[in-house]
C-alpha cells in the first residue's frame, strides 16, 4: 500500500505517477475533517469516483447542470414521470430530450469537476491500495455507465485551474461572501455564461451557494464572477446593508438567508461579536445547533478580548450547558463572573473548572482558579479549605498544611475556637510529628471551656445591670410625677378661685410645690403662678379702697331707683317668657349701674338659673332643702356656692357642689341605674328575643338549653334541653308563639313559647347552625342555613322538608323571605335568590365581600352588608342589586331599618343612615369610640350597645347623645325593649333592666 501526505506530495504528482505506471487500484484521499474521496483507477485511467458512500447523483440535476436539459424540460419530465409512475430517465429518453451519450458526458463532467477541486488541497493524507475496488462505495450509475477518463488531460486541466483558483481567491476570499450587481449591470454583448452567472446575483445569496445552483460548473461560475468583480460589475455587499437585509429576512422567517447575510457581515466586520451572536441566534432557529454554538463561542472570545464582561455573561446564558464548554471558555466565563462580582455564578463555574483541572491532575491550575474565586470573597474561609483539600488530595502535605494554617489563623481572628480546633486536628493528622499543633489544640480546648464559663457569667452581670438601671431611673420619675400632680391641683384651685375670689388654697399648693419639689420642672412655673396670684390680690385691695370714697346725693338716688326698677321689670318679663339669657343681661345691667350697689333692692338682686335634668322630673335638694322637681329655676348671687342633690328612680343619685358666677341654665345628665340585674345561665353573645308574653324573653344558652325568663317575677318560666353542655345552637326566631332553633344534633326544633314543649323536630338536617331561622310572611315556610352553606326550607307547621339548595361557603346571616323568594347571603360573597314556587335558584349575584351579618328588608328589597364595608340593595324583580355603596373602611356590624332609611352600625363607633333608594349616606353619627355589639331603634331613639360595655341612647332627631350607661361587661348583642323597659344582655351572663323615660 502506498501512503503519504499531500503537503509533501501534490495530487498532480500523485496522479501523474499512477498514470505513468498505469496502476490499477483505489486511491483514498483523507481531507482535513475526516472527509474522504475515493478514486478507482484502471490501468492509470480514472473509472469511478466516490465521496465514501454509494450516493447516486440526481439524474435531473446532473443533466441540467451539464446544460443538456433546461429547467422547463426538467420540470415537465418530472411531472410526466410522477403522473405515469415511470422513471425520470426513461421519460427523458422516450421524449428524445437526451441520449445515452448525454448521460455519459454529464457523468464524466461531474467526476472531472470533483477531481479538479481536489487539486487545491494543500493538506490531507492519501492511501493507494493496488488491485482493490471497494464496490459498495461507488454508486450504481457509475457502475452501469462505462467511463474511462484519461488522467493526463485531467492533470493538465487541474493544474490550470489551480492557477486560476489562486487568482480567484484574491478577490473572492470565501464562498460566504455576497455580491450584488453594480450600476453597470450585465454587459449587453455578454455571452450566455456571463449573462447567466451575473443574473443569478441577487445581493442576498452567498457566492458559494450561487455557484452550486448555476447551470455551469462551480469553477466556471467563480471564474466568471471573478472577472465581473474585477471589472466592477459585481460589488461586495457592505456589512451595514447585509445586517439590514438579515433583519428583514429573519422577520420574514427566511432563516437560511438571514444566516448567510449575517455570516457575510461577520466576515466583513470580523471584530464585531454582536453580529456573531445574531448569527448564532438565527442558526439556532433552523436547527444548526453546532454552527450556532461555534458562532457564540467566537463571539465569546471577541467579547473576552474586548473586556466586555457583561456581554460575556449574557452570552453564557445562550450556551446550552457549561459542562460542554472547554477549559478555555470556562476560564473566560469565570473571569467575567469574577470581574462582575457575580459570586454565585463564579463559584459554580469556578468549581467546575477546578474539578476539571483536578481530574486532569493539574492541581496548580485548580488552586489558581480557587484563588481567583477568593478575590470575590477574601474572607471566605471555605474556599481556602477547598484549596487545602485539593493539595491534601494531591498528596502535597506541605502546601495543604500552609493553607489549613491560613484557615486556622482566619478562624482565630474570628474567635471561632471550636472550628479552629477542627482545622488544627486536620493539620495534626497531616503532620503527626508536630507537637506544637497538639499543644495549640490542648490550649484551645481549655480556652473554649473558659469562654463558656465567661459567657455564663456575662449573662448574670447583664441581668443585674439592667435591674440597677431600672431602679436608678424610676425614683426621679416618681419625684417629677408628684411635682406635676401638685401643680395640676394648684391650677384647678386657681381656676376655682377665679369664681370665688379666694386664692388661699391655690397659693398654698404652689408654695408647697416650690418648697418640697424645688428641683422639678413645674417648680419654676409655680413661682410664676404665685406672682400672678399676688398681683390679683393687690388689684382687689385697690378696688375696695376706691369704693370707700364714693358719695351719692338724693337726686341721683331717685333717678337711680327709677332706672333700676325699669330694668328689673323688663328682666321679670323676659324670665316669664323663659328667655333667661335676656333676663340675665338686664339684671347684669342693673348691677352695673353706677352707684346702684348701695341700693337694698340691688343688694338683694339674684340671677335666675334654670336647672334641668336628663331624664326630667328628678327631685332636687339645694343645700339640704327640697327645692322641687327638675326643671327648676334657682336664684343666686354671683359667687354663691350651693350643694345640689338630685335623685331619680332608675338613675344614680347625684350630689354636686356648684360655684355660681354667671350660669344661666344647666342640664345635668343623670347616670342610668339598672332597675334590676338578672343573673342568667348564658354568656349572651346571642340575641334575647321577646316571647310575646308580658315581659318574658327567650334566649339560648351554651349549657345545652333554651330558656324563657320572666323579669317581673325574676324567674325562669321554662327551659328545654336541645343539646349538650357547650353546644352553640343557632340564634332564635320567635314567631306567633313558636320558638325556632337549629341545633348541634343536626336538627331544627320548634318549641311552644308558652311552655317550651317541642312542637316538631326536623331531622336528617346537617348542623350546626349559626344564623337564626327565618319564617315567611305567610307563616307557611321556615328557612334555615348551616355552617356548611346548606340551606333547608321546611314546612312551618310540620317541619317537613320543602326544598333545599347549597351555597359555596358558610352561611352566617339569616335568610330572608322576599316576594316569593328566599334570599340568602353566604360568606362565599354571593347572594342566592331561590324561587319558592319553582323550587329552583332564580339568580346568584356576587357581592364585593363576605356576608356575615343579618340582612334587612325594606320596601320590597333586601339590604346586605359585606365585610369590606359596603351595603348592597338586592331587588328580586330586577334580578339583582340596585346599588352598592361603600360606606366605611371598617366593617359593618349591624343593619336596621327605620323611616329615615337603612341604619348601619360601623366598627369605628359610627352609625350611618343610608338612603334606600339611591344608596347615599344621608347622615352619620359618631356614637362612641368603641365597636358596637348591636343596636335597636325605638322612635327617634337609637340604642346602641358597645363591646366596651357602653350603652348609648342617641336622639336621632337632635343628632346628639341622649344618655348613656356603662355596663361592667361587654355588650355583644342588641338590646331588647319590652314595655318601657330596656333589657341589655351582657357577656358576664347578666341582663340589666333599665327604665326608658319617655
Amino acid at each position: 500500500m502506498l501512503k503519504g501526505n499531500l503537503s509533501g506530495f501534490s495530487l498532480g504528482e500523485l496522479l501523474q505517477s499512477l498514470a505513468v505506471s498505469r496502476r490499477t487500484g483505489t486511491l483514498k484521499i483523507i481531507l482535513p475533517g475526516s472527509e474522504t474521496k475515493h478514486l478507482y483507477f484502471e490501468e492509470g485511467d480514472l473509472r469511478f469516483f466516490s465521496h465514501g458512500t454509494p450516493r447516486t447523483p440526481r439524474i435531473g440535476q446532473l443533466l441540467r447542470n451539464s446544460g443538456l436539459l433546461d429547467e422547463d424540460q426538467l420540470k415537465e419530465a418530472v411531472k410526466e414521470a410522477k403522473a405515469s409512475g415511470r422513471l425520470l430517465g426513461k421519460v427523458l429518453l422516450e421524449q428524445n430530450v437526451i441520449s445515452e451519450d448525454d448521460i455519459r458526458r454529464a457523468l464524466q463532467q461531474k467526476i472531472s469537476e470533483e477531481v479538479y477541486d481536489l487539486f487545491g488541497l494543500e493538506e490531507g493524507e492519501f492511501e493507494f491500495e493496488p488491485d482493490t475496488c471497494p464496490e459498495e462505495i461507488f454508486d450504481s450509475l457509475q457502475k452501469s455507465v462505462p467511463l474511462r477518463i484519461h488522467t493526463s488531460p485531467l492533470i493538465m486541466e487541474g493544474l490550470r485551474r489551480l492557477d486560476e483558483w489562486t487568482r480567484i481567491r484574491t478577490v473572492i476570499k470565501t464562498e460566504n461572501e455576497i455580491f450584488d450587481l453594480g450600476p453597470q449591470g450585465i454587459p449587453p454583448h455578454a455571452d450566455a455564461l456571463t449573462r447567466a452567472v451575473l443574473s443569478s446575483y441577487d445581493g442576498l445569496t452567498p457566492v458559494g451557494e450561487l455557484s452550486r445552483q448555476g447551470n455551469c460548473t462551480r469553477f466556471e461560475f467563480l471564474l466568471t464572477s471573478f472577472e465581473a468583480i474585477h471589472s466592477g460589475r459585481l460589488q461586495l455587499l457592505d456589512p451595514e446593508t447585509a445586517l439590514r437585509e438579515a433583519e428583514t429576512a429573519r422577520a420574514n422567517r427566511h432563516f437560511i438567508q438571514a444566516a448567510a447575510l449575517l455570516r457575510h457581515a461577520s466576515e466583513q466586520s470580523p471584530g464585531d461579536p454582536a453580529i456573531l451572536v445574531q448569527l448564532g441566534d438565527v442558526l439556532g432557529l433552523y436547527y444548526q445547533e453546532g454552527e450556532a454554538r461555534k458562532s457564540y463561542l467566537q463571539a465569546l472570545e471577541l467579547y473576552f478580548e474586548g473586556g466586555d464582561w457583561s456581554s460575556v455573561t449574557q452570552l453564557a446564558e445562550k450556551l446550552p450547558g457549561h459542562t460542554e464548554l472547554d477549559l478555555r471558555h470556562l476560564q473566560i466565563l469565570l473571569q467575567a463572573y469574577v470581574e462582575l462580582r457575580l459570586a454565585k455564578k463564579a463559584l459554580w463555574v469556578g468549581n467546575q473548572l477546578a474539578s476539571r483541572f483536578q481530574e486532569q491532575g493539574e492541581t496548580g491550575e485548580a488552586v489558581s482558579v480557587l484563588h481567583s474565586l477568593q478575590q470575590l470573597d477574601p474572607k471566605d474561609l471555605n474556599l481556602t479549605v477547598q484549596i487545602a483539600t485539593l493539595f491534601q488530595q494531591a498528596g502535597e502535605t506541605q502546601q495543604a498544611t500552609a493553607y489549613y494554617e491560613e484557615v486556622a489563623r482566619g478562624l482565630e481572628a474570628k474567635k471561632k475556637v471550636r472550628d479552629q480546633v477542627k482545622i488544627l486536628r486536620i493539620i495534626a493528622d497531616l503532620n503527626p510529628h508536630r507537637a506544637d499543633i497538639k499543644q495549640r489544640i490542648a490550649t484551645l480546648v481549655a480556652l473554649e471551656e473558659r469562654l463558656e464559663k465567661q459567657r455564663k457569667r456575662r449573662i448574670t452581670i447583664a441581668g443585674v445591670s439592667i435591674i440597677a438601671i431600672l431602679v436608678g431611673s424610676f425614683i426621679p420619675l416618681l419625684y417629677e410625677l408628684k411635682a406635676r400632680e401638685l401643680y395640676s391641683e394648684g391650677r384647678r384651685a386657681k381656676e376655682e378661685a377665679f369664681q370665688t375670689g379666694d386664692y388661699t388654697k391655690a397659693k398654698l399648693l404652689f408654695t408647697r410645690l416650690r418648697n418640697s419639689y424645688g428641683l422639678s420642672s413645674p417648680s419654676r412655673l409655680a413661682a410664676c403662678e404665685i406672682e400672678e396670684i399676688q398681683a390679683i390680690e393687690r388689684r382687689f385691695i385697690e378696688i375696695a379702697e376706691t369704693n370707700l370714697h364714693d358719695a351719692d346725693d338724693e337726686q341721683q338716688l331717685r333717678e337711680l331707683t327709677e332706672r333700676v326698677e325699669s330694668l328689673m321689670s323688663r328682666a321679670r318679663a323676659a324670665e316669664a317668657e323663659e328667655d333667661f339669657e335676656e333676663a340675665h343681661e338686664l339684671i347684669r345691667q342693673v348691677m352695673g349701674v353706677e352707684g346702684a350697689k348701695d341700693l337694698s333692692v340691688v343688694q338683694e338682686l339674684k340671677l335666675p338659673l334654670l336647672l334641668a335634668t336628663n331624664p326630667p322630673g328628678a327631685r332636687l335638694e339645694i343645700d339640704g332643702q327640697y327645692a322641687g322637681k327638675s326643671p327648676h329655676v334657682h336664684r343666686y348671687r354671683p359667687g354663691d356656692s350651693v350643694t345640689v342633690k338630685i335623685t331619680h328612680a332608675g338613675c344614680l343619685d347625684l350630689t354636686s357642689r356648684l360655684a355660681l358666677t354667671s350660669q344661666i341654665r344647666m342640664e345635668i345628665v343623670l347616670s342610668r341605674r339598672p332597675l334590676a340585674e338578672h343573673v342568667l345561665p348564658a354568656s349572651f353573645d346571642q340575641r334575647i328575643q321577646p316571647a310575646g308574653l308580658r315581659r318574658v324573653f327567650v334566649f339560648p344558652s351554651q349549657d345545652g338549653n333554651i330558656y324563657a325568663y320572666d323579669p317581673e317575677s325574676q324567674s325562669i318560666v321554662w327551659q328545654q334541653s336541645v343539646g349538650k353542655f357547650g353546644d352553640r345552637i343557632s340564634d332564635l326566631n320567635v314567631r306567633e308563639g313558636v320558638v325556632y332553633a337549629g341545633t348541634v344534633n343536626n336538627e331544627v326544633q320548634a318549641l311552644d313559647v308558652s311552655g317550651g314543649e317541642v312542637r316538631w323536630t326536623a331531622r336528617r338536617i346537617r348542623g350546626p347552625f349559626q344564623a337564626a331561622p327565618a319564617v315567611s310572611e305567610d307563616q307557611r315556610l321556615l328557612a334555615v342555613a348551616n355552617v356548611f352553606g346548606e340551606v333547608y326550607i321546611l314546612d312551618h307547621q310540620s317541619g317537613e322538608r320543602y326544598g333545599e339548595f347549597l351555597t359555596e361557603n358558610r352561611v352566617a346571616a339569616s335568610p330572608v323571605f322576599l316576594e316569593g323568594y328566599l334570599v340568602v347571603g353566604s360568606t362565599d360573597s354571593h347572594v342566592y335568590a331561590y324561587d319558592l314556587a319553582s323550587k329552583s335558584i332564580r339568580f346568584i349575584k356576587e357581592l364585593s365581600g363576605e356576608i356575615r351579618i343579618d340582612p334587612v328588608v325594606h320596601e320590597g328589597a333586601a339590604f346586605f352588608a359585606t365585610g369590606d364595608g359596603c351595603v348592597h340593595r338586592i331587588a328580586v324583580e330586577g334580578e339583582g342589586q340596585s346599588w352598592s355603596t361603600r360606606i366605611t373602611d371598617r366593617s359593618i356590624v349591624a343593619l336596621k331599618t327605620d323611616t329615615r332609611g337603612i341604619l348601619a352600625a360601623v366598627a369605628a363607633g359610627h352609625v350611618m343612615v343610608i338612603d334606600p333608594a339611591i344608596g347615599t349616606v344621608d347622615r352619620q353619627w359618631k356614637i362612641a369610640e368603641a365597636a358596637p355589639g348591636g343596636m335597636l331603634v325605638d322612635g327617634d331613639t337609637l340604642y346602641v350597645g358597645f363591646h366596651d360595655g357602653t350603652l348609648v341612647a342617641w336622639d336621632m332627631s337632635a343628632d346628639r347623645r341622649s344618655w348613656s350607661w356603662q355596663a361592667d361587661a361587654s355588650i355583644d348583642t342588641e338590646p331588647l325593649l319590652l314595655s318601657d323597659r330596656l333589657y341589655v344582655a351582657c357577656s358576664s351572663g347578666t341582663v340589666q333592666e333599665l327604665e326608658i323615660f319617655r
Binding site: 447523483p57 430517465g89 450509475l141 455507465v145 462505462p146 422567517r253 436547527y287 357547650g726 350546626p768 356576587e846
Partner: protein, 361 residues
C-alpha cells in the same frame, strides 16, 4: 471484489440502462429536499421511500437498535455503530437530539426511518419554542397542529416533571387559537367558542380553556355561548375574574379531602375520628382525680380526660360545636378559632397541646 472483474461486467449495456432507470427513479423521488418536521406532524404525513426529514425531540431510549423519541409515533433505525456511538454520546449530556433520517418503510405503521446523522438539540424550552415557531409557520389551516403540540408539551411537563414548560403549551394553544381567529369573521363569537372547544378536545386543560374564554368574554360580553362553556367547564366568576371551581373553593378556605371540599375544621374532625377508630383507645381516659382536673382548668389548662364543663372552665364556651356519630360513639368537636378540641362520651380525647399518638396522627 477486485477492480478488473467488476470492469468487465460493466461493459454490458442492458445492465447500464437498468441502472440508469433505477437512478432516474430515485432521482424523481429524491427531488424532495430534507424537510424539518415537528414531531406532531409525523402522524399526519405520508412519506415516500427515501424521503429525508430532520426531526428533533426528547430522547427516550435505544430499543432494538431503534431510537425512540418522546411522543413520536415513528421509529428511527440506527444503521451503524458510529451512529449508535454518537447517539449514546450525545444523549449522555443532552436531553434532546436532532435526527436527520431517511424513510425506509413509508407504508409501515408507524413509518420507519433510518438515521443518517445525529446532533445534539437545544435545551427543551428552546427546542419547543422553535417547534411552536415552525408549526405556526404552517399556516392557519394547521391550527390543530398547534393544539397537538400543546398537548405534547403538557405530557412532557408531566412525564419529566418540568413545570416550567407548561407556559409553552399555553403559548402553542394560544398561537393555535390566534391562527384560527384570523379565519373567523369579526363578530363570530360562536365560531371562536367552537375553536376553543376544539382546542379543549385536544388539550383537556380547563385552566387554559378558561383563560381563552375569559378573554373572549371581555370581547363579546353578550355572548351566551362563552358563559355557557365556562359553566360547563365548572368555572366560577369571583371578584371579577373567572376561575376554576377548585381555585374558587380554595379561595373560600376549603380543603380537598378525597372528592369532597371540606372546611378545615371538618377535615380535621374526620381525620381525628378515623385516627381514633383505627387506634385502640385505652379504656380509662380519666386518669386523674377530679381535684387535679379542677386545678388544671382553674389555671386555664386542659388535659385529656376532662369533661366539657372542665374544658369550659379553662377556656370558656366554644365558637362552634360539631357532632358526628361513628361506630356507636358520639364525637364532639369544639372549635375555638383555629384550635380544635375533641370529646368522645363527654371526655376530652384530643386537644391542640396534646402530644399523644392520636394527636400526631
Amino acid at each position: 471484489m477486485t477492480g478488473p472483474s467488476l470492469a468487465s461486467k460493466h461493459r454490458l449495456l442492458p445492465l447500464a440502462l437498468w441502472a440508469f432507470f433505477a437512478a432516474a427513479s430515485s432521482s424523481a423521488r429524491g427531488e424532495l429536499a430534507t424537510e424539518d418536521l415537528v414531531i406532531d406532524e409525523v402522524a399526519d404525513r405520508t412519506f415516500q421511500k427515501g424521503q429525508q426529514i430532520r426531526i428533533s425531540g426528547r430522547y427516550l431510549e435505544l430499543q432494538d437498535e431503534e431510537v425512540l423519541l418522546f411522543d413520536c409515533p415513528a421509529r428511527f433505525l440506527v444503521t451503524s455503530t458510529g451512529i449508535r456511538r454518537k447517539v449514546l454520546e450525545i444523549t449522555a449530556t443532552s436531553a434532546n437530539i436532532t435526527l436527520s433520517v431517511r424513510c425506509t418503510e413509508p407504508d409501515a405503521r408507524p413509518p420507519r426511518f433510518e438515521i443518517l446523522t445525529v446532533e445534539p438539540a437545544p435545551p427543551t424550552s428552546r427546542l419547543l419554542d422553535r417547534d411552536i415557531e415552525a408549526a405556526s409557520a404552517r399556516g392557519p389551516e394547521h391550527a390543530a397542529l398547534m393544539f397537538r403540540l400543546g398537548a405534547r408539551i403538557l405530557r412532557m411537563a408531566e412525564t419529566f416533571e418540568e413545570p416550567e414548560i407548561v407556559q409553552l403549551a399555553k403559548k402553542a394553544c394560544i398561537r393555535g387559537l390566534l391562527l384560527k381567529d384570523a379565519l373567523r369573521a369579526p363578530g363570530d363569537a360562536a365560531g371562536r367558542v367552537a375553536d376553543i372547544r376544539e382546542m379543549f378536545g385536544v388539550v383537556p386543560d380547563r385552566s387554559l380553556a378558561m383563560q381563552a374564554l375569559a378573554q373572549l368574554e371581555t370581547k363579546y360580553p353578550e355572548a351566551n355561548e362563552v358563559r355557557e362553556f365556562l359553566i360547563e367547564l365548572n368555572c366560577r366568576k369571583f371578584r371579577g375574574a373567572w376561575m376554576l371551581y377548585e381555585d374558587f373553593k380554595s379561595q373560600q378556605g376549603f380543603e380537598r379531602y378525597g372528592d369532597k371540599w371540606l372546611l378545615p375544621e371538618e377535615k380535621d374532625f374526620l381525620l381525628t375520628i378515623a385516627a381514633y377508630l383505627k387506634k385502640k383507645q385505652e379504656p380509662i381516659l380519666r386518669r386523674r382525680l377530679d381535684q387535679e382536673y379542677q386545678l388544671l382548668s382553674s389555671r386555664g389548662e386542659v388535659a385529656v380526660g376532662m369533661r366539657p364543663r372542665e374544658v369550659f372552665q379553662a377556656l370558656g364556651y366554644p365558637d362552634r360545636v360539631y357532632r358526628k356519630k361513628a361506630r356507636d360513639a358520639e364525637f364532639d368537636q369544639w372549635v375555638f378559632g383555629d384550635r380544635y378540641y375533641y370529646f368522645v362520651g363527654d371526655l376530652l380525647i384530643k386537644h391542640p397541646e396534646d402530644d399523644s399518638e392520636l394527636a400526631s396522627r
